[in-house]
Symmetry: C2
Subunit: 161 residues, 2 copies
Amino acid sequence: MQLKNQVEWALHCCSILAGLPDGRYLDTKSLAQLHGVPKEYLSKALQALAKAGLVLSTLGPSGGYRLARAASGITFWDVVSAIEGPGPAFVCTEIRRNNPCRPKSTCDAKACIVARVMWEAEDAWREKLRGMTIAKLVDQVVEEVPADLMEATAVWVGERS
Amino acid sequence: MQLKNQVEWALHCCSILAGLPDGRYLDTKSLAQLHGVPKEYLSKALQALAKAGLVLSTLGPSGGYRLARAASGITFWDVVSAIEGPGPAFVCTEIRRNNPCRPKSTCDAKACIVARVMWEAEDAWREKLRGMTIAKLVDQVVEEVPADLMEATAVWVGERS
DNA sequence: TCCTTATGGACATATAATATCCTTAAAGGA
DNA sequence: TCCTTTAAGGATATTATATGTCCATAAGGA
């Protein structure tokens, strides 16, 4: 079990878009260069974010993407679920029904206990992701990344947005 | 991103093995029939549990598997990590290093912030799984599953162990 | 009109999950 | 000793998913 690389890409892209001058857009090509990932495939991830309403896009020269709302209103879960889909990682195939001792007529009041436990654990994971926003991420980045690299990147992005 | 079906199978198998009469073994064939899953493939999952030290196996007639220790000493995380591997679901490919503005000499003191956040969320998931044991699972099963089905299954298993 | 860009579909490849088959060796019973 | 049963593990096949590329289309800006 592994999350798609697109999750990593999308989160990094969001942190870049969060630092964009107001009203400006950054295009796929620049985001791909900045992260060293294939432009065409990154494009699919950005399209997923757009479809989920997390980013806005515009066409033509100086087109590209920007965040659809304040970075404080976009959580890690928003991004992860946009890329991976909102469904659970644990899929219950109801193998309890295959018990040969079980009468056909048996009707299950509750979901399988195994599934419920697995889903509770996922809830804890999801809650953690919901508690982290792109804004908080950017705060951390500003705190940890050397100021000159932050500045150089801002200039690089500014030239392309 | 989805967990393997083998995780579901392995957990159900553990709950069955936990109910086994002392010192008895239940074979792969019976476990497969009981859950309606392919014997050969389930066998791979059981081998993974054995390799992880969660179950013991023995050969020959009346051979099969039993828990290697008390059900209270086996957690959901033990089973999940035996099947899925202990590694994180989020894999950091260090795309921050691909930033063209970044001097080659840059050395990272800490892991990427994005990765750290994702891993913290996974820790919460893992902790939930660590907090649930096969013994607790069995308690819940006893509480929720109709007594006659529990009894019939115990008889069925008893005849084959 | 021309260039740039996102969109979306089609397609190709790589990797992982699922599934089956077969050989080997060990355990138990006849 | 011989035969049956069983787990172990390797080889292989099949299917699904992830990754990656390409192209046609439509829309925005110069």
